[in-house]
Amino acid sequence: MARRIRTTKNLAKRMDLQYFKQAHPLRSWRLWLSILVPVVAAGWFTAQRATSQKIYGSGPLSAAHAVLGKKCDVCHATTLGFFHAKVSDNACSKCHDAPAHHADKVAFTVGCGSCHIEHTGSPRLASTQDASCVQCHADLRTRSGNPQYVRAVKDFDKEHPEFAALRPGAHDPGQIKLNHYAHLKPNLAGPTGPVQMDCQDCHRVAAVGGAWPYAMPQVVSQHEAAAASTSADLKHSHSQDYMAPILYVNQCAGCHVKDLQFDRRFDQAAPHDKPDVVQAFLIQKYSDYFASHPRALAEAVAPERILPGKMKLPLPVPHNRQEWMDQQIMLADRLLFDKGCKLCHVMLEGQGADGKTTEGKAALPMVAKSSIPARWFLHAEFSHDSHRLLTCTACHNRTPESRQTADILLPGIASCRSCHEDSGAQHDAASGRCSECHSYHDWTKERPTKGKFTIQQLRAAK
């Protein structure tokens, strides 16, 4: 039986009543650490600040601006005295000077930073969030009160209108008669025999080089040479994104040159050019022929092929060079302008060069401008190259059965939605962000900027 008894009195006697005044390891550690840790933190901050201003950054810069990581004041210029250094629109426009989106029409224009969120490590700063666009386009207000575009667009998945070219009332402005169905039939008469045509025989992105399989064997006029090498209608296009324009010399001539043959006495076909050029070509050809064939007046005059419309045959015998020339050119004109050209072109009969009807002497016809749209999306970007893993008919599925020129073969928004979703990669889908197709700024009006840094200045740590 232990004799030690713990009474309160006994215990109290053990205590040093001043114990709380004495240093104790745990309290001492707490005190010193409470001094040391903030000092270390302040030291870390000071050391970081001494080498770079990045310590203040809220996140990594976008890929395009990463090179400015050591030069914060390029964008964060000090204004309003010494303290304020927020990024202003002026700082952005020093390098990216482009007019804002419909600046003259929209009710208000947002600042650059409200859509292009920097310091989030974005690989592409131009890829803005849909919310940036929807803040206006969900209920579009303009200064005039009547927006030119659909008033409410909230997302791509559900609340985006059908493409303008496919809405009721829209029509194909093209004036070339083309039957896709006929062109895709097997055993078409090709330049050297039967052929099976493919989409890419006529439609390729502009950047793809190489010969066109149904191109003109040789360029015959300066006009055609120029046409073959330019993409006149391809405004703001990227050569990898849009199809090369359809040109007679590139895509048609290989097969259709025979439609410009006008007289078996000549190997050369008429040029694919304006009527007055064709007419001058014919006059020149027949003048040369008459000069080199003294018995031309005695040769029987007969049309090259069956002519359209009614004509009294045989034609009267010409008595002189002028009558012979008139007959030859009349026959060639009818063969070309009334048949060959009309196969593809819309001819505006009886109109002069100024478009007015001429009376008396038969006027040369006018050929309606082909007006094949180089781009169907006038307010959106599209890249065929990005979609190259797909077959053409995967999207343009109505094309093989299209018989009418007026058929608009642009895929509808439903086709795009098959792959593109707002949530994008999260749903194993392509992005459906506004910025995938639409650009806010009108970059055609971008003004040039003048650089002001040397590499050393830009890369020097500050």
Partner: protein, 306 residues
């Protein structure tokens, strides 16, 4: 501080505030063109409120330093520290859009994680450990006095050993009254005559002193003493049982006292261990909190600049 019924109002208030903050955050983060971040109006509001809560939580230290301040009861401050400090973390996440950022903001967020997690650990420990300590350590004393009590235990044991040794050597003059009384009353225990008076046993005396010098004195004098034989209750009991066999029955009360001293020392060691567990988190929480407040102030100023 135990989180009990008295925290009900704080808990409900904090939960309601958190729900409101989250309810505002969801549409805000979805609709803000630039996404949720500290630079938006909503982001600044979240940041400001969270900073105010953190500052209040930080002022608890000052409140404790000056207990006579008439600024509310210490318990109310503690509850405020606990719940507002807890609330400040989700608010800061709403402020940052759940991003840690880079540079200073990244440092701040990690510091805050350290402060928040250590605070949670501390709150859990403060809830459970005091009761556990009371249950398991009946001989609990003031933590800061443990060293002093240990010295007293050494002195007490020393006295018992010296008295016992003297008695064993036959020095009646050095035997205590109790020992003399015990010897006088010694008789038959359990049918066996174990003693008839103070024994004279020089060998036992030497062994008793040897036991004290080699085992008991080092064990009691030093804190922790992990690995020593007497730190283990079972081994300790076995050792004292051997001592009882060695010593005459009239010495057994002294042996019991010595064993009791060792038991008290074991409890002091356990109290030390519990105290360290209960308070070690403060070595992380408080310094990190000061660093957080310091760098947070820098962040607030520089965020206004940039």
């Amino acid at each position: 501080m135990r989180i009990d019924e008295t925290h009900r109002k704080w808990f409900i208030g904090s939960l309601a505030a958190l729900v409101v903050a989250a309810a505002v955050y969801v549409p805000y983060s979805r609709n803000a063109p630039e996404g949720a971040n500290g630079g938006t109006v909503a982001g600044l509001i979240y940041g400001s409120v969270a900073s105010a809560f953190m500052l209040f939580a930080g002022l608890l230290g000052a409140r404790k330093k000056v207990p006579i301040w008439r600024v509310g009861r210490a318990q109310a401050w503690m509850r405020g520290h606990l719940w507002l400090g807890f609330l400040s973390f989700p608010l800061i996440l709403f402020h940052s859009g759940f991003r840690f950022g880079v540079g200073l903001t990244k440092g701040l967020m990690w510091l805050f994680v350290v402060v928040f997690v250590s605070g949670i650990v501390g709150a859990v420990l403060q809830h459970f450990m005091p009761r556990l300590t009371t249950q398991r350590i009946p001989l609990e004393t003031i933590y800061e006095q443990i060293g002093r009590v240990r010295s007293q235990l050494v002195a007490e044991a020393q006295t018992l050993i010296e008295e016992g040794s003297a008695a064993l050597r036959g020095s009646v003059s050095r035997a205590t009254e109790q020992q003399r009384a015990a010897s006088a009353s010694a008789g038959t225990i359990g049918g066996l005559t174990v003693a008839s008076g103070l024994q004279v046993d020089e060998g036992a005396s030497i062994q008793l002193q040897d036991f004290f010098r080699r085992e008991m004195q080092p064990y009691i004098a030093h804190g922790g003493s992990k690995g020593m034989a007497l730190a283990d209750r079972n081994r300790s009991q076995a050792m004292f049982q051997q001592l009882r066999v060695l010593l005459p029955p009239n010495m057994h009360p002294s042996v019991d006292d010595l064993e009791n001293i060792c038991e008290e020392k074991r409890e002091l060691d356990q109290q030390t261990q519990y105290h360290r567990i209960l308070h070690a988190w403060l070595l992380v929480h408080i310094p990190a909190s000061y660093a957080l407040l310091l760098l947070g102030a820098v962040h607030a100023v520089m965020a206004l600049r940039y």
